[in-house]
């Protein structure tokens, strides 16, 4: 199987006022299409930073990233924006929905960026996705009118709307109660199975890590495969 994502010798340092923090050291990772990977680690070990780098949200000092076997050039901002929009879907710990838009509009936005004229069919697609995550009654609710679990499900629907090849989730259940967390876990599992979409989650949760195919630990700036 081909690698959908590959990281080679990634280094990242946070520059502080007194000392620098070398958080990722020559880190390597290969991810195959359809993988469901969890990345675990202590607080401050750099797992969220790693996810930010994979998601092309953050800069890194040296190393190479390949998505679909294409090397990413960090200066080609148009290409990066297109990849972020089309090939990567991000789910954050704190949902990060735009507060002035309804659930439906929030799901539609990543799709509207590329193709605003096709609003009607995008709307249908977004409705379908919201139905899939069990929110068909909440189309026109604003984020402030939704519960934590509902918000997170809207965020997952938003991450899915452009059919991205890779879905990145940063502690998606870190803020939710057990029952709701389980719903989200099942949802992610279902997406991975049904659509063969690659999922990488950063998590503290053993339950979530247990349903993934591979578990990595971030230790001293490197990734160690556990399972």
């Amino acid at each position: 199987m081909s690698n959908i994502l590959e990281l080679k010798n990634i280094n990242k340092t946070y520059k502080g006022k007194t000392e620098n923090l070398h958080i990722l050291k020559d880190l390597n990772l290969e991810v195959e299409e359809g993988d469901f990977i969890s990345i675990l680690g202590k607080s401050g070990s750099g797992k969220s930073t790693l996810l930010g780098i994979i998601g092309l949200l953050d800069n890194f000092d040296s190393g190479e990233i390949y998505i679909n076997n294409n090397k990413i050039d960090k200066f080609e901002s148009n290409n990066i924006d297109r990849l972020k929009n089309k090939d990567l879907g991000f789910v954050f710990q704190f949902h990060y929905l735009l507060p002035e838009f309804t659930a439906l509009e929030n799901v539609m936005i990543p799709c509207l960026v590329q193709n605003f004229s096709d609003k009607k069919s995008i709307e249908n697609k977004a409705k379908e996705l919201l139905k899939k995550v069990g929110l068909e009654e909440r189309y026109n609710h604003k984020p402030s009118e939704l519960s934590g679990g509902e918000k997170q499900r809207v965020a997952i629907a938003r991450a899915l709307v452009n059919n991205p090849k890779i879905i990145l989730a940063d502690e998606p259940t870190g803020n939710l109660d057990e029952e709701t967390s389980e719903d989200i876990h099942n949802l992610l599992k279902k997406i991975n199975k049904e659509n063969n979409q690659t999922i990488i989650v950063v998590t503290h949760s053993k339950e979530l890590a247990n349903i993934t195919n591979k578990q990595y630990f971030v230790k001293q700036g490197k990734l160690i495969l556990e399972k």
Binding site: G52, G55, L57, D58, N59, S77, N78, D81, R82, L83, K84, N85, K86, L88, F90, F92, Y96, L97, L98, P99, E100, F101, I109, P110, L112, V113, F116, S117, R158
Partner: protein, 387 residues
């Protein structure tokens, strides 16, 4: 289109801020247009009054004195000229007996060829009491203010004393109103022949007064008269240079001062846009994470500033035109007695409004482009981590 969709949401979500921005621009543009409209109107009113009984070009060449008839025929061929009036100007004393006693006043005597003056200056339209009588050699036409001051009546007799101490009895035939207080209080008009007789002159005049179809062509005609006919002359602009430059200075200062209000409005927009960008830092991070380019983010905030500005401008234009319409059509009590006018005169051109709108748009653009640029420059992760 996508950017507009987001910008619209932001504006409607932040109703209060947006309204303050719109209000700022509206006030700025209304103050500028209304004050410019009134100032233009007052200027025009002043110029019209000056031109009402004055001529547009005064030919005072020495050749005019004796051979004015021949000269008149010669220059009549110039296209722009509406009429030429031979005139004698002098100073004198007016004596009148009313029921309270003697009334004496120094006056400026204008001896006109009444028939020609009527044609060139529309003298007829200025007469508010009595009427023009071409056959009456001893008729005198006096200003409305003087008439009131004298407490005289049409048909009353008065005596005009010339500088040569020649006393001539005349009959009040008409009362004119020029709209210019100086003329209405201190000027009298008598027939040319009477003036020549009073001043011991033969068929002589002191000047040829030319009225044009368009008074703003005076400079051009003046040049033709000087270059082609070698006649020394002065335009109404030359004669009223002080007044005209005062008017123009006053207008310039006013425009500069009121433009400051627009600058303040621009500052309001700048502050509001900065606030909006600051409040939306996290949202900008989210949008960037979804693959919305920094150019699009910039466009969103630029559009917001422009939408606020444009709405303010449009409301401002309608509001100022409404205010000007009210001022033009309804009499304000206080102002009329001070300015010697019956209504507030108003004058504004599409060109002036367009210039104001264009300048406003530029200023609004400049004040929103910097916050928008700042928004576009934000790094995704930094923006997401912002609390």
């Amino acid at each position: 289109m996508f950017e507009f969709f987001i910008a619209k949401k932001h504006i409607f979500q932040k109703k209060k801020q947006s309204l303050i921005g719109i209000l700022g621009v509206t006030i700025g543009i209304t103050v500028l247009i209304v004050s410019l409209g009134i100032s233009n109107g007052l200027d025009k009113n002043m110029i019209n009054s000056i031109l009402s009984l004055g001529s547009h070009i005064s030919v005072v060449d020495t050749r005019v004195r004796k051979s004015y008839n021949a000269l008149e025929k010669e220059i009549k061929s110039i296209n722009e000229i509406k009429g030429i009036v031979p005139k004698i100007s002098s100073q004198g004393l007016l004596k009148y007996k009313n029921e309270y006693g003697d009334y004496v006043s120094g006056v400026k005597i204008d001896g006109f060829d009444i028939e020609k003056a009527d044609k060139a200056m529309d003298l007829n339209k200025r007469i508010v009491e009595g009427k023009i009588d071409l056959n009456k050699k001893n008729g005198i036409y006096i200003g409305k203010e003087l008439y009131k001051d004298m407490m005289a009546n049409i048909g009353d007799k008065l005596t005009l004393v010339s500088s040569e101490n020649q006393e001539i009895p005349l009959i009040i035939t008409g009362v004119f109103e020029s709209g210019y207080y100086e003329y209405d209080m201190n000027m009298v008009i008598i027939p040319l022949k009477t003036a020549q007789y009073m001043l011991y002159l033969d068929d002589e005049v002191s000047s040829l007064e030319i009225n044009l179809k368009n008074p703003y062509h005076a400079k051009k005609v003046s040049n033709i008269l000087f270059e082609k006919y070698n006649l020394f002359n002065r335009t109404w602009g030359d004669q009223n240079r002080n007044l005209l430059s005062a008017l123009s200075l006053e207008k310039t200062v006013m425009v500069v001062v009121f433009s400051l209000i627009i600058l303040i409005a621009a500052f309001v927009i700048w502050v509001i846009m900065n606030m909006l960008v600051r409040e939306k830092i996290k949202d900008i991070g989210i949008m960037r994470a979804m693959g919305i380019s920094n150019k699009s983010v910039m466009k969103i905030f630029l559009l917001e500033g422009m939408m606020i500005g444009l709405t303010g401008i449009i409301i401002g234009i309608f509001m100022s035109l409404g205010i000007l319409w009210i001022l033009e059509n309804y009499t304000l009590s206080g102002i009329t007695s001070i300015y010697y006018i019956s209504k507030v005169p108003v004058e504004i051109s599409y060109k002036e409004i367009s210039v104001i709108v264009l300048l406003n748009l530029i200023v609004v653009f400049i004040s929103s482009v910097f916050p928008a640029y700042k928004a576009g420059k934000l790094e995704t992760m930094e923006a997401l981590r912002h609390e």
